[in-house]
Amino acid sequence: MRKKIFLGLILSIIILSLTSCSTEEKETLNVLNYDIYIDKTLISEFEKENNVTIKYDTYSTPEEMYIKAKAGASNYDVIITGEYMIERMINEGMVNKLNFDNIPNFQYVGEQFKNQPYDPNNEYAVPYFWGTLGILYNKNAVDTSQKSWSLLWNEKHNQRIIMMDSQRDSFAAALKLLGYSMNTVNEKELDEAKALLLKQKPLVMAYITDGAPDIMINEEADMALVWSGEAVSAMSENENLDFIIPEEGSNIWIDAAIIPTTTKNQELAEKFINFLTSKEATLRNIDEVWYSTVHTEALKEVNEELLENHAFNIPNEDIEKMEMFRDPKEFIDLYSKRWTEIMADKID
């Protein structure tokens, strides 16, 4: 009997504590960002300066972010994500227009990052970082006389190749190698890319996101498909590593901050975006995330060593050959269906 009463009490307490709201009056800001994509001290600094609480939440792929935002897991106020997802969210009416009077730092964003197809009139998004996709490799193990995506299909590196567990990026490499657009919705082209990725699967050591730089630094693999910032951070820790952007062309992406319609405090959210895109914050973030900056003033103060790194200061002749991801709208299923089938394929 006593046990039952005790159990009842405990359960009631648990339920009560779950349902009771906190009585604090502090404003909160719900922020959603990639993993490892900010200098975290900036968050506590903003909290202190403005006497607010920031609930910081992370995700690993834009697709995951979209599901989180769409399912209403939380009423996000600021989301930082990739351009093709922003385009999709704008099309679906999930993004608020910004009041740029509250975001004066927007003026420092480089002209080449403004008026991009995902936000042609600069109404919704404030660019945060930009970068590209390429191959991080070990100079002692890989012969890169041919700067081609076909390196990732080279049988000499059986079980020494790291691929990304990200459908658009993996398909981008395969589609570019075939000479197609990375935004294709042509099923025949996608089937060819799928066949190519299936052919590659036995050679692949692992499909991962975020862990590739560590594996490369420890020289556990010969090469990895990575984003440019991952390459910069890995190269700074192991001098045997280098980065190439294949000649067939690659992807140029811009990650930007948006305010979704779920926000309850647009003004504070705009203030946070402005804070995050200031020169000081940008310089501190560069030291943490290593991606190329969109901030023209911050770029002038980046150290020499970083400016000489072609994964950070990406050469113009490479940029010219790059293509930006577009939102494939309902055709995204053509990609995800094929990617699931590739991942589900048995190799032995």
Binding site: I5, L7, L9, L11, K201, V204, S336, T340
Partner: protein, 280 residues
């Protein structure tokens, strides 16, 4: 008196309804409805999600998961039974320490423990460095099916040891003495007395290892390198990447059915109808 105490069960009922029954109902509902072109789930009943599952590829993933989970369970049993036996026979002063050591790793987050194995199994990890030191060729250990099985055995073996230990420590010593008095040798005592009486623990152990093993997704992802998809990975991908909650739910329901069926089969073997195995 009885009328009053009944109220104390209310929080429990509320708990079950909100956190178990209602979500399960939603999963079931998703699994038998379809997504319209805007990606919004409308109440339009269909069985196409289940039909889709019976494509060869998905069924193969299911069999593969069951196979890997079964291997892990057998290894857990082979390693866990002797461990439980040793602990239950240890001197009382040592017994608690041994049990404590067995539970100790569970204080740490499972993710961290699994990450630790990555540094042990890696191409330049502890094992391969040691092999290199001995002048032996390196082995490909990480990102293989073997690594996945290893991770599952390592993570779930306490769930095998503990119920078996409980069953063994309840065992009446007089029975063993009586058997010995009647001339049974040690082997016979184990075969005829100890093992049959510890069956309830073994059954609980098998269920408690097999269930999380068959549905895990983080271990094949971290240690298997995402190359051999298990059914848990497929469900995760469908929910998180494809946003296809309907198909994902259908697979979850199939999973639940398989677990229920395997549990009821296991219960048939539960000889004395006692012990922790009576989950169903």
């Amino acid at each position: 008196m009885k009328d009053k105490t009944k109220y104390f069960s209310y929080p429990y009922i509320v708990w079950i309804v909100t956190f178990i029954l209602f979500p399960s109902f939603l999963v079931l509902l998703y699994s038998i409805t379809s997504k319209d072109s805007n990606g919004v789930t409308t109440i339009h009943f269909t069985l196409e999600n289940y039909e889709l599952f019976f494509k060869k590829m998905y069924v193969n993933i299911l069999f593969d998961s069951i196979w890997l989970a079964a291997i892990s369970t057998v290894i857990c049993l082979l390693l866990g039974y002797p461990a439980a036996y040793i602990i239950s026979n240890a001197h009382i002063s040592k017994r608690n320490t041994l049990l404590f050591l067995c539970i100790l790793p569970m204080w740490m987050n499972m993710l961290l423990r699994t990450y630790a194995w990555m540094t042990i199994l890696g191409n330049n990890g502890l094992i391969n460095n040691f092999l290199g030191f001995l002048g032996l060729p390196k082995l490909n250990l990480l990102y293989t099916k073997g690594a996945t099985v290893m991770g599952m055995v390592y993570n779930f073996i306490p769930f095998m040891i503990l119920p078996i230990y409980t069953a063994l420590s309840k065992l009446d010593n007089k029975l063993i003495e009586a058997a010995a008095d009647l001339g049974a040798d040690k082997k016979t005592v184990f075969k005829k007395i100890i093992f049959p009486l510890s069956m309830p623990g073994v059954i609980s152990g098998i269920i408690m290892v097999f269930m999380p093993a068959v549905s895990t997704f983080i271990i094949p992802q971290l240690l298997g390198g995402n190359k051999n998809m298990m059914i848990g990975n497929l469900i995760e991908k469908l929910f998180i990447l494809n946003g296809d909650w309907n198909f994902g739910s259908a697979i979850s329901i199939v999973m639940m059915l398989i677990i229920l069926i395997s549990m009821s089969i296991m219960n048939k073997f539960d000889v004395d109808k006692e012990g922790g195995a009576r989950l169903l």
